[in-house]
């Protein structure tokens, strides 16, 4: 067996393991929080509460307008200067969920806006309250429409967690860097890391098309 192949084969498990215990949980936790933030942000931005709208728009503006890596550094390395010291996982989850929340809020807002005004009117004319309209009529349709853009946001997040390596989290990318450091095989090892990300993302897109199919029964 060639030396490169042997190194690659021996590296699969350590990298994959980092994926299973770091990349995936970090992505899932951050995404779950991001979704909550995104729904609230989208609803506020569609509401008439001026002050709240301004606050949430500013949040989206800042997080979409600055690099994720810089955001991570500010939260992890910068905040201790202001007396807020966070452990790497907390810093990563806060930054990733706020960042993805900003993008996902726009995906959700656009999906809600794409639902015809007649749906609101029909529901309101039955005497439904705002929350009833949202829950019974708007939300189920929003889920279907926002599935592709939200999956996009999730995929971006999953790949973006590789930046957590820069704030000392031993994710797939960091393990890859460590293996490269003593094997001197950057091409083979980083390609392996990329391949595992690709597998994770493929699972996500497959899940997306399954969900899309079941959510589109009525179309």
């Amino acid at each position: 067996m060639s030396r490169e192949l042997e190194i690659v084969l021996n590296s699969i498990w350590p990298i994959l393991k980092a994926g299973l215990i770091v990349t995936i949980p970090l992505s899932l936790i951050s995404f779950a929080i991001a979704l909550v933030i995104a729904v609230i942000t989208a609803l506020v931005k569609l509401s008439n509460f001026r002050v709240l709208k301004f606050i949430f728009s500013t949040y989206v503006w800042i997080f979409r307008g600055t690099p994720l890596l810089v955001q991570l550094f500010i939260v992890f390395f910068g905040f201790p200067k202001a007396g807020i010291t966070l452990d790497p996982w907390t810093a990563a989850i806060i930054t990733f969920s706020l960042n993805t929340g900003a993008y996902a809020s726009e995906s959700i807002r656009a999906s809600i806006l794409s639902i015809p005004k007649g749906q609101w009117e029909a529901a309101e004319s039955l005497g439904m309250s705002y929350w009833q309209v949202l829950r019974r009529v708007i939300a189920p349709q929003t889920v279907r429409i926002s599935l592709p853009p939200i999956t996009n946001d999730f995929i971006d997040l999953l790949k973006g967690t590789s930046l957590a390596a820069s704030i000392t989290i031993a994710d797939m990318f960091m393990i890859g860097q460590q293996i490269t450091a003593f094997t001197y095989e950057p091409l083979a090892i980083y390609s392996l890391v990329a391949a595992i990300y690709l597998v994770f993302c493929t699972v996500l897109t497959t899940l997306q098309s399954r969900l899309e199919k079941s959510a589109s029964k009525y179309v």
Partner: protein, 249 residues
Amino acid sequence: MDTIVSFTDMNKHFNEHHVLKNINVQFNKGETTVILGPSGSGKSTLLRCINLLEIPQTGTLEIESLKVDFTAKLNQKDRLSIRQNTAMVFQSFNLFPHMTVLENVIEGPITVLKKDKTKMVSIGEQLLEKVGLLHKKDSFPSQLSGGQQQRVAIARALAMEPKFLLFDEPTSALDPELEGEVLKVLKALAEEDKSMIIVTHNLNFARVVADRILFLENGEIVFDGKTEQFFNNTENERINSFIQSMQFI
């Protein structure tokens, strides 16, 4: 006759545009009123002011014991209870696409009126039977023709057991051959003495179904009277020219 809806000194503006001018009108129980008028005359807006999809700036609306003064801020409770007393059928049907036909019909009573679901299923099926669509109860709206969708929308409106029904150009989006099936349902409802207010462009239909005609022009009620009077009103030039323009063939 019992008045169930009335506007007093009602005015509606869209920005600078004065859409409805000092409207004073009553609608009566058991009566079918058809609102006619040229495009942009404010007839749809008048209809939408009744269930508060549009909010006038001044005047009052009374629906049975409920009274709303538009100069004051409208409270949510009055808004919802007025809507629960009315039901609307739209030009573009607006069925809920993610629900089956039967689910569409019983959604309002279950969610809003908190009716029992099993009871509503059998009431919903009766209503679908009435509009001739019981066999489609498990279909989704996207699987129905326009005329069928509109008949489901009528069943959905009836399921709320409203004090009266509002129809906003219910056949304008339909092909002529589908229009007939919807008009037939409306005619049957009129014969049952349901209280209905219908905005339409179809003069022949108005002649057959209406007890009373309102004719609007530039946001004002120009004519309010019996159907026969309207169609025999040869001395009123505006009405005459309107009727002629609609019967160009």
